[in-house]
Symmetry: C2
Subunit: 231 residues, 2 copies
């Protein structure tokens, strides 16, 4: 493939930006990382994503691609000679897409709900809901990984990226609330997976340290006066 111009508009704390970065890393695609400042939007961002005005935006040969999971599929399609990100079997692909959608539509909103919950009872109920989601994902892991280290088998794939990008924020949530959400004693497979995911060559340099992310979260939470972290 001819050398192409790849830029990514993003920010280090965003789980959605991390998805795009991991996909590009898996394919060994060099890219320019254009960091947006929290709280402001560059002209390039406004021009490239006029509908949502949100990061990440991948700009490939001057053409913008928006929405993190769409970017991941695009990277997999364009740099098809690299390791595959989506499963090759249509049914496995449908299952990976199903759980990725579940994670964005149901699971992570419930994690954000912990920070937004008012009072101990509401917080406890919210944590219970998150735990139910994690139990579903533990079960999905057992079924889709088929004894291998990742949802995608031997390598980090689509569903690993979709879920794994939230691990930093899950750890921050654990730290702020004195709970364990992914725990060896309850979800041993996900606990092992999380370690393998964070140590992966495509992931480790873009996964934020929990302490750094916690400091960022404190600033965000105080600005938003008790609201959940920004999507």
């Amino acid at each position: 493939m001819a050398k192409s111009d790849v830029k990514l508009l993003g920010g280090w704390p965003s789980p959605f930006v991390m998805r795009a970065r991991i996909a590009l890393n898996i394919k060994s695609v060099p890219y320019e990382f254009l960091e947006e400042k929290f709280g402001s939007k560059s002209e390039l961002l406004l021009k490239s994503n006029p509908v949502y005005k949100k990061i990440p935006v991948l700009i490939h040969d001057d053409k913008p691609v928006c929405e993190s999971l769409i970017i991941v599929e695009y990277v997999d399609d364009v740099w098809s000679s690299g390791p595959s990100i989506l499963p090759s079997d249509p049914y496995d692909r449908a299952i990976a897409r199903f759980w990725a959608t579940y994670i964005d539509d149901k699971f992570f909103p419930s994690v954000r709900g912990i920070a937004a919950a008012q009072g101990e009872e509401a917080k406890k109920a919210q944590i219970e809901q998150v735990n139910e989601g994690i139990a579903l994902l533990e079960d999905a892991f057992v079924k889709t990984s088929k004894g291998k280290p990742f949802f995608g088998g031997d390598q980090v794939g689509y569903l690993d990226i979709a879920f794994g990008c939230y691990l930093g924020w899950l750890r921050v949530t654990e730290k702020f609330n004195g709970v364990k959400l992914i725990d060896e004693s309850i979800t041993p497979n996900l606990a092992k997976w999380a370690v393998a995911f964070c140590a992966d060559g495509a992931v480790k340099d873009v996964m934020p340290e929990t302490d750094k992310l916690s400091e960022f979260a404190k600033v965000v939470f105080s600005k938003m006066a008790g609201q959940a972290p920004p999507k």
Copy 2:
């Protein structure tokens, strides 16, 4: 491809079920349509979609696939020798997925908001929001159809299915509120597209008549006491 067993759990008024049916029609896949009754859920549905307990579910050789857009992609992947549903170019595919996501996440919720709006002012504001969405989609049509009759070019494709499945409910909304949402004088391209879409061989037998859908909507709305139609 060997003859396979295809069942679809659905209901005639559901735009999401219509997506799966159109995809199967495009590929000329025979299937058994198992109609769920409004307000109750069959054992097969609960077993096949335990996470959401929602239609549509495609059951292909005893394996369930859930979520309408995921079903459409699955049908395109499995019956790959039929006419293509997703665009073949990766960038066009990303753009089609972007607008399909926009339609589900932003556009149709704003249409549902018209029924839920309390008072004339709120309703007017909501209609205004829908019109802004339609203007964006008119623009997207011009860019992606490139002078051809469908978003997908010469044939009904992914984005046609994603948007077109809502036409019945848009017409019901127009009828109940005395407004025109897709109008020749304002969005001439979408108006022409809507006619072509509804007349297409893969669509016409599964697109509900506006009068029949209106009667159904009245029952739903009265049951839900002023809530938006069910997703």
